[in-house]
């Protein structure tokens, strides 16, 4: 089954020069390893290709169950020189959360999104 990242994780975008950093943080720590396996740098690069020219680098922060994607934009797409409406790329966190991952149907966090229709655990 497909799970939209927005149902299981949250994200914040940061920016430096022509880079965006996008975090991906599961609501439920059990989803962390699922995201590690399925939210790859390559998948994120492909998903964000309209703005991110790649290559995307992914960092794991196992201690706090968070991933960071470092996403390069065009050299002339910086906060000061960009022609985009969102010069910082701040809204890209929402683009990342639109991504879908294909999870298994077996038991464990892959069985169903903890969020789904009812939203993630509080």
């Amino acid at each position: 089954m497909k799970v939209r990242l927005h149902d299981v994780a949250h994200s914040r975008a940061g920016d430096k020069g022509n880079l965006n950093t996008l975090s991906l943080i599961p609501y439920d720590p059990d989803w962390y390893l699922v995201l590690c396996a399925l939210a790859t740098a390559e998948a994120v690069a492909a998903h964000l290709a309209d703005r991110v020219v790649g290559p995307v680098v992914r960092h794991r922060m196992d201690g706090v169950h968070a991933l960071i994607f470092v996403c390069p934009r065009d050299a002339d797409d910086t906060v000061t020189s960009s022609l985009h409406l969102d010069t910082h790329g701040k809204s890209l966190s929402s683009a990342l959360l639109q991504m879908e991952i294909e999870v298994g149907d077996g038991p464990g966090p892959g069985a169903a999104a903890p969020g789904g229709a009812t939203g993630p655990p509080a």
Partner: protein
Amino acid sequence: MTATRFRIGCGAGFAADRVQPAADLVERGGLDAIALECLGERTVALAHLRRLRDPGAGFDPMLAKRLTALVGPMSRTGTRLITNAGAADPMAAGRMAADIAAAAGAPMRVAVVLGDDVLDRLDPDAAAWEDGRPLEAHGELVSANAYIGVDALLPALGTGAQMVVTGRLADPSLFLGPMMHAYDWDPADLDLLARGTVVGHLLECAGQVTGGYFADPGVKPVPGLADLGYPIAEVAPDGSAVITKLPGTGGLVDRRTVVEQLTYEVIDPRAYLTPDVSADMTAVRIAELGADRVGVSGAKGAERPAELKVSVGHRAGFRGEAELGYAGRGAADRARLAAEIVGARLEGVVPRLRIDVIGVDSLHGATLSEGVEPYECRLRVAGTAPDRAAAEAVAEEVSALYTAGPAGGGGLRTSVGEVIGVLSAGIPREAVETRVEVVGATGGAQ
């Protein structure tokens, strides 16, 4: 210091941040110190440009408003204030700060940190980190500010002045400096420096760690955002800290808000670089300790970078932007037709041009918005050119759609302005000499 914990708050996370939360923090937060972080990558360059046009206007335009709200509470509580809102002219900002305090009947000494402005000593042929080309090849350089750190800040704190005003002091250093000063931390203890830096990193964007920039209704709601409280760190002598916020305010502090901010703008969590230290954030541990209380500990430190980072501003031509709205049946089609028309009319006139439809594809591009047909949307055109006249053509051609474009356009907005580009480069530490001057009260005004 309250009990055994040093209490530091953040009253502003960027130049345009709200004012009142800082006043509330100083009045009721029991703080030893408050920092106001008011400089972004481009803010310093823009401040230099203002100073070139209008000497005396080189610091944060909101600083007077902030200090007017803060000097009263500061005089009652004794809280010290550290801010980098001096931007392109910390000396003028410091004098104004002393004047505001004196006029409020609360005279204070103000220590000013100088020396981050390195335009006269930066090698214009140095390679820009962004593309490796010489800095000056990008256009006339208008500013160069080194990211200075606690080396520059500690002498200012040592003067005992209640206010410290700086230029391009690195954001986390605004917080690490007061911790080092309070606890007399050994600068060679890199783990302590890393822990203090992580606390500073968590606080530096103010409300972003207390539920600001976090709410997503139905998924991660935040109570009382209209009255968002700004953060406080209770820092222990070993550099561990509790992140919390002013009681009785809106917002929330929990694992999620803290981890979102921990990851913010981090390009390499194993080596988060500041002028003071290289911090390993992968060693950080987070613990929820109760309502709006989150413990942070465990960062590891390594040797600071050999060079200082310099933020360099350069003239980058002019930008023209314009928008026009369309609504009802076929709105997006009419906006796309308008896009074709403007694109054709500006061909060969504006070297860099971008045309989007707001409400459809302006934020994330065409792929993610495929199939979206909004009730209303806006044509948006943006272009840059070396000369102002070409940039003005963007505004002119969108305006002309009123009578020479598709049906029903309305709500025209246009703007044209100079673009200051910002680049990064390195500078040897020995080329940057900082010093402190004290003004106001008994400080012997210069």
